[in-house]
């Protein structure tokens, strides 16, 4: 086979394609949020009216995987995803914490949970939205998976659907537990 200069494009192309193909699965490491693999921010939130325990960072660093779900009574998608959060808390056997985000009236959150059922191990009330900002919340609902050391390992923005629950969240939780 006679060498010709025309092989150069092929070689260059192969090199470039090789680099990209080799790195194809690294796409996953590209973080969907700046907070991924960062420690969860420091916070301490008061409980809902009439309850004892609020939520603080200490709850997230007890050594086991946990889930933090940001919800609000005014948020319609939260209502839609709520049955799935209940299922998550039932099936995943990890504590699911709630962050009640920017309620107008503190009673709203309580009423909401009374009506729909309360899957949360503890709920913190973030009236000012300050903690939400620290977590990078920009649309409710959002769901964070946090490992035992308090590192945020995954973040889902928007309502949890059956697909997301079964294909993304549960496997992720299992992976972190195992």
């Amino acid at each position: 086979m006679r060498f010709s200069i025309a092989v150069i494009p092929l070689v260059l192309f192969a090199a470039l394609a090789g680099v990209f193909l080799l790195n194809i699965d690294k796409d996953a490491s590209v973080v969907p949020s700046v907070l991924i693999d960062k420690p969860a921010p420091e916070f301490s939130l008061p409980p809902l009216p009439g309850r004892d325990h609020g939520l603080s960072r200490a709850d997230l660093t007890k050594g086991n995987v946990s889930v933090l779900n940001v919800f609000a009574s005014w948020c319609i998608p939260c209502r839609a995803e709520h049955p799935l959060i209940k299922r998550l808390s039932r099936e995943a056997s990890v504590p699911v914490y709630g962050l009640n985000y920017k309620e107008k009236d503190p009673q709203d959150g309580v009423k909401w949970l009374d009506e729909l059922g309360d899957p949360y191990a503890a709920v913190g009330m973030d009236i000012s939205g300050r903690t939400g900002i620290d977590f990078g919340v920009y649309g409710v609902p959002e769901t964070f998976i946090i490992d035992g050391n308090g590192q945020i390992r995954y973040k889902h923005v928007g309502p949890v659907t059956v697909e997301v629950l079964e294909k993304v969240l549960m496997p992720k939780i299992e992976e972190l537990k195992g």
């Binding site: 494009p9 192969a14 649309g139």
Partner: protein
């Protein structure tokens, strides 16, 4: 139900694409098998005894299929079917967006019931699946047009070249269709239906932005047409004059479409940001720029090929590479390699298929190029001083610029994979590296139209370019004396723009005032110019005007940032802006704080300007809309910011002299391209088979 129909149409499209690939060219399969076989049989030139013509052939498969494909009327059957299927699928998707069918996650991701109808339609093109589908539809349109064109030129009617081309296009349609179905199927449904969508990205809620996508994908589809023609030419060793002529309109058309998309991009970033800039060298811009740079490179060396049958391999190489960079650009912008999109999709979608398809298609293409380039004889050599060499040099330089842009785009990525350090490559890199290439390119650009084919004399050019040289030097001197403290780079830019402008105009002048021969009509000179010359001159002048405007506005830009109170007046250039205050208004699906300014020029009221800050509650995102007055000596660009502590409103005013030249230059280039295509189409329709000279 319609979505399922669309899904089925998309599936059928893949099947018909494969059908077209196989049916149109059983011979192609055979000859490519031969090409890839270990015996390394040389590619057989067209019409050699190995391949007698179509109608009777030795291959069994071909013998059976011959009746289907040989008849010219049937040539249209599959392309028409593919286009109809594509339109059906696109229609189904558009319908899902129009009626806000939130059972489709693509709709939920980028649309909302409160999004206005026009933008719901526009939103259909933004998710991966919608964009791929649009590309497929554009591709099937190109497929049909190409079939029409190849049928029209009588000699190509039934031969292998035409059918190979269509076969390759069919294959591309099939590959992209499969990628769409596997990676980004827009027609999948979810079981739990959200109550409403997540809303369109407010940045996309703009009429121009909606128009951009069809132009972008039409441009890319045109490049695919060129790619198919090139590969067919390589397979048949037919990279010749006729090939170059067939390719011409496609090159110009894709260039115009991509150029339109780029111009829209530039104007959008200009009117969205408070910085008054219009080019940011970000990935999506660069990935558009790459094919847009290579298309004129191809156009020029194609012209040489058409005239003198030289530069065959270079033309073929560019014909393949232009689509390669276009496709790669789509991959870069669609993948989450660069800006991880904050909008998480409901179904995890990745674009690996796009990359794998890219690798398969182009590995084969470059391999074919390598194997067949040896058989490709070059025509007669050309002299160093000739139009051929100027045009060759031009295409090499354009390719170099494209290479720099490509490196600047992927270097950060590769570095990040190796070292893990994220870096960004911005304007300083591009300016530093590109200026030494662009300046000589522009210097040489002025020569080419004045040069003769084959061979020219240096002193003759000197005589022809004398006037242009003197005039542009005068411009530079005038500018540098008037504005003594100028940095050299923009000055050279203005000088070179003047140089191209004067050279083009003086060449036009010389042609128009050619002494008429005896008995010729007065309008003969005008006729002799021809549409090609006119469109080329328009495009060259357009570039000169663009560069002059860009350089001038970067030098004389004035920026004023003030904290304004109602009634305050702001001075910028010859303009005076009076701030009237901000009012809260409701838009269709947003709330807006709209400021009112009265614009005075030399204390005469000119117009009112209304920059805005819009708030889109669905996504909770604010966007800024600057307001711009395109005056005759420059743009006045006003945008407002937040309220500051002492109750004033932050107002940013840019006065950009000669900025309309930038937009005018872009427009002139596009008009030049459109003119060329239109005249050619009209001529062809009038007198079939006649080419414009």
């Amino acid at each position: 139900m319609l979505a399922e129909l669309g899904h089925f149409a998309l599936l059928l499209m893949v099947v018909t694409g494969i059908g077209q690939a196989v049916l149109f060219s059983p011979l192609w399969l055979r000859s490519s098998l031969r090409m890839f076989s270990p015996q390394k049989a040389p590619a057989t030139p067209a019409g050699s005894p190995d391949f007698p013509d179509d109608n009777d052939n030795d291959g069994n498969a071909h013998g059976a299929l011959a009746p289907i494909v040989a008849k010219p009327a049937n040539l249209f059957l599959l392309p028409i079917a593919i286009l109809l299927l594509g339109l059906l699928a696109e229609g189904a998707l558009l319908n899902a967006f129009i009626v806000s069918d939130f059972t489709l996650p693509v709709v939920t991701d980028v649309s909302h019931s409160s999004t206005p109808l026009l933008y719901r339609i526009g939103a259909a093109f933004t998710p991966d699946g919608g964009a791929m589908l649009l590309w497929l539809v554009a591709l099937s349109l190109v497929n049909l047009l190409l079939a029409f064109q190849l049928r029209k030129s009588a000699s190509l009617d039934t031969d292998r070249f035409a059918r190979n081309t269509l076969s390759i296009l069919g294959m591309l349609i099939a590959v992209l269709g499969v990628v769409t179905l596997i990676d980004a199927d827009p027609f999948l449904r979810v079981t739990v239906v959200p109550l409403d969508g997540r809303g369109m990205n407010p940045q996309n809620q703009d009429l121009l932005k909606v128009l951009r996508e069809p132009f972008l994908y039409l441009g890319l589809a045109g490049l695919a047409g060129i790619f198919a023609l090139t590969l067919a030419g390589l397979l048949d060793n037919r990279i010749d004059r006729q090939f170059a002529e067939t390719m011409r309109s496609w090159t110009i058309a894709s260039w115009v479409c991509l150029g339109t998309a780029i111009a829209i991009n530039a104007y959008r970033s200009y009117s969205e940001q408070a910085w008054g800039g219009w080019w940011y060298w970000d990935t999506s811009e660069n990935s558009l720029l790459l094919p847009w740079l290579l298309a004129p490179a191809l156009l020029h060396c194609r012209a040489v090929l058409e005239k003198t049958e030289t530069l065959r391999s270079w033309t073929a190489f560019l014909g393949i590479t232009t689509l390669a960079v276009g496709w790669f650009g789509v991959y870069l912008t669609r993948s989450d390699l660069f800006a991880p999109l904050p909008e998480t999709q409901i179904l995890p979608i990745d674009s690996n298929g796009l990359l794998i398809g890219f690798c398969l298609v182009f590995a084969a293409a470059y391999y074919l190029f390598w194997r067949s380039v040896d058989q490709m004889g070059e025509g007669r050599c050309f002299e160093v001083i000739s139009r051929e060499s100027a045009m060759f040099l031009n295409s090499v330089m354009l390719a170099l610029i494209a290479a720099v842009v490509l490196i600047g785009t992927i270097y950060p990525l590769v570095l990040q994979w190796i070292t893990g350090e994220p870096i960004t490559v911005g304007a300083p890199f591009y300016v530093e590296v590109l200026v030494p290439i662009v300046l000589p390119l522009m210097f040489l650009m002025a020569f080419a139209p004045a040069l003769r084919w084959r061979q020219d004399e240096l002193w003759m050019i000197g005589r022809r370019m004398k006037l242009a040289a003197i005039l542009s030097l005068i411009t530079v001197l005038f500018v540098s004396i008037r504005f003594i403290d100028l940095s050299p780079a923009p000055l050279i830019g203005i000088g070179l723009a003047g140089w191209i402008l004067t050279a083009s105009l003086s060449d036009l002048w010389a042609r128009l005032w050619r002494h008429p021969e005896h008995g010729e009509s007065k309008y003969r000179n005008l006729q002799l110019l021809g549409p090609r010359y006119v469109s080329m001159t328009l495009a060259h002048i357009g570039l000169a005007v663009l560069i002059a405007g860009g350089s001038a506005s970067s030098i004389w830009e004035e920026q004023v940032v003030v904290s304004a109170r109602a009634g305050q007046s702001i001075q910028a250039g010859p303009y005076n802006l009076q701030y009237e205050g901000v009012s809260l208004l409701a838009g269709e699906n947003y709330a807006t704080r709209q400021a009112t300014f009265i614009l005075y020029r030399h204390s005469q009221p000119v117009t009112e300007l209304f920059p805005e800050i819009r708030y889109y509650p669905i996504r909770g995102v604010e966007t800024r809309e600057a307001d711009i007055w395109h005056g005759r000596d420059g743009d006045l660009h006003v945008s407002i910011g937040d309220r500051d502590d002492d109750g004033g409103r932050v107002v940013t005013v840019h006065y950009l002299p000669m900025m309309p030249w930038v937009w005018g230059g872009m427009l002139l280039m596009l008009i030049g391209g459109c003119f060329s295509i239109l005249t050619r189409v009209i001529l062809r329709l009038k007198k079939p088979g006649v080419s414009t000279s």
